[in-house]
């Protein structure tokens, strides 16, 4: 084992220790704040723990999670299935890219949450409408990052491949796609986290279901100890997805580990 490895391990241990100390401090601050503000403003940490046990025990969370994840997975799947190929075609065929680019940018710069009433008008208050809202949010970061990834392929590498006799098709599949990979994964990660946001917003604005629905219900009832449970569940889902994709990126782009 080299000296560098040992140092790396020590740094990691220090990192975890620091995190645990910060977490403990946050809980302490929370506890003090809860005691001085009262349960109508902020429930005590222990109350949230009990609420968590209750809501998991009686199946409330399970049902809500199922509803939310169904919407999320379908919408995110559709965003990927359309967004990545579209970004690739835009990057690979200049005419398509030039034509579509400005419209994508227009939609992306628009505050898309403003389109929720339109989605409700078109698709009603049910699942379809929710899926449409999530796609509206998750789709654009995926297309834009894929497109930019392909577009920003190093020209020198393309020239090198051309000099070895690469055809246009080979340039696209063997160079541009690989060069874009890390950007594509970034797009997927952004899309995934915006998608979670989309699910909650959709559940707030349409028929109240899922984890977002629980948040509104308990919030309106001032049952803040229960209210915090879906909030925490959503945070855990968000972190899991983003860390999972970081891991996938690391596995798919092993050469990046050495580019520090």
């Amino acid at each position: 084992m080299s000296v560098k490895d040992v140092a790396g391990i020590r740094r990691r241990r220090v990192g975890w220790a620091t995190r645990i100390i910060i977490l403990a401090a946050l809980i302490a601050v929370w506890q003090i704040a809860a005691l001085s503000l009262g349960p109508l403003f902020l429930p005590q940490p222990l109350a949230v723990v009990y609420a968590t046990i209750t809501l998991f025990g009686n199946g409330t969370i399970e049902l809500a999670l199922k509803q939310s994840m169904t919407v999320y997975l379908i919408a995110f799947g559709i965003s990927l299935a359309i967004g990545i190929p579209l970004g690739l075609v835009m990057g690979g065929i200049k005419a398509v890219g030039d034509a579509v680019d400005s419209f994508i940018n227009l939609f992306n710069s628009m505050p898309r949450i403003a389109l929720i009433p339109l989605m409700v008008a078109w698709f009603g208050l049910g699942v379809t409408s929710k899926i449409a809202i999530v796609i509206l949010l998750a789709f654009f970061p995926i297309v834009i990052n894929t497109y930019n990834g392909v577009l920003n392929t190093d020209k020198d590498l393309l020239e090198a491949a051309t000099s070895f006799g690469a055809s246009r098709g080979q340039l696209f599949t063997r160079v541009m796609l690989r060069a874009a990979l890390s950007n594509i994964i970034t797009g997927i990660r952004l899309g995934a986290s915006v998608g979670i946001l989309g699910v909650v917003v959709a559940e707030l604005f349409t028929a109240i279901t899922g984890l977002g629905g629980l948040i509104v219900t308990y919030g309106n009832l001032f049952e803040l100890n229960y209210y915090f449970v879906p909030v925490l569940v959503l945070s855990v889902i968000g972190v899991t997805i983003s860390e999972g994709l970081k891991y996938v990126e690391k596995r798919l782009t092993p050469w990046k580990q050495f580019q520090r």
């Binding site: 090198a160 070895f164 006799g165 690469a166 063997r174 580019q259």
Partner: protein, 290 residues
């Protein structure tokens, strides 16, 4: 013997931004040269004299404005396995390992899988990178990266090697080492080499013939046969009696050319030449100091 590469009255210009529009910057004008089969030709000239452009034209990466390039008597060269390019900036695929990078041109040209991997191993061994097959370029030093660049170009077993200042971005020691290794590799492969540099010692060590090309718009100003016997790694070429004479001559000619350059068509730039400081080697880049 019929020449391998013939260049006739070649001209190439690029648009140069000037105020609101563009003017034509003539990079190469009416350049003619020829290279024999199995010959090692070094093209030397001041920086900005269109040496890289010339290589790209020969490879068929860019089309000429006028003039003709014949490879084995056939005009309009196309990039492909017949010519292997080694770039100054290496240009390795960062997502491929050493093995993957050397295999890459072979896969592009649909070389049979088994044959390709045999060849890749052979050339990786030849450039001395055995044991590094699974390393990524970012894990290698500059010298090692260029060894990969060499192996990649040679694995195509091209008839012509086009080398664009391949050792120009390496430190002096590494580049001298690689020059000798290139000599050895070339001795065995015996393909035709067109090698661009502005390093006089490199040119004198490697070349059968040196073509001196002038400042923009460039053409061949002078042709110098290099008399040293081969193989040249077995003795010290620099202690040959002709060596300092040739070097002095090249040095003077290059200096003259640089003093004439520095003028773009339509642009007023005073020629700037700096005399070498005492004990300092002259390089064409000095002209850029101003």
């Amino acid at each position: 013997m019929a020449p391998k590469v013939v260049v006739r009255n070649l001209s190439k210009s690029f648009p140069l931004r000037q105020g609101k529009g563009y003017v034509k910057l003539n990079v190469i004008e009416d350049l003619s040269m020829s290279v024999d089969e199995k010959e090692f030709v070094v093209i030397i000239g001041p920086s900005g004299s269109g040496k890289t452009t010339l290589l790209k034209l020969i490879d068929g990466l860019i089309p000429p404005d006028s003039g003709e390039i014949l490879i084995d008597g056939t005009s309009h060269p196309k990039p492909g396995p017949k010519m292997g390019f080694v770039f100054q900036s290496f240009r390795l695929m960062p997502w491929k390992t050493v093995m993957g990078n050397v295999l890459f041109p072979l896969q592009l040209n649909h070389v049979d899988k088994k044959a390709a991997s045999d060849r890749a191993v052979k050339y990786i061994t030849q450039v001395g990178l055995t044991g590094f097959e699974n390393s990524y370029p970012s894990e290698l030093s500059g010298g090692m990266q260029q060894r990969v660049g060499l192996a990649r170009a040679m694995a195509l077993e091209p008839e012509i090697m086009l080398m664009d200042e391949p050792f120009g971005s390496l430190d002096a020691q590494t580049s001298e080492l690689l020059q000798v290794e290139l000599l050895k590799l070339w001795q065995f492969s015996n393909n035709t080499v067109i090698f661009v540099t502005h390093n006089l010692d490199e040119a004198l060590l490697l070349a059968d013939r040196i073509l001196l090309i002038g400042a923009r718009p460039s053409r061949v100003e002078e042709e110098i046969k290099v008399p040293f016997r081969r193989p040249r790694w077995t003795y010290d070429v620099r202690s040959e009696p002709e060596y300092p004479v040739l070097r002095r001559h090249l040095w003077t000619r290059l200096r003259e050319m640089v003093s004439k350059s520095g003028t773009f068509p339509g642009v007023n730039v005073a020629p700037t030449v700096t005399a070498p400081l005492a004990g300092e080697e002259w390089t064409p880049r000095m002209a850029e100091r101003g």
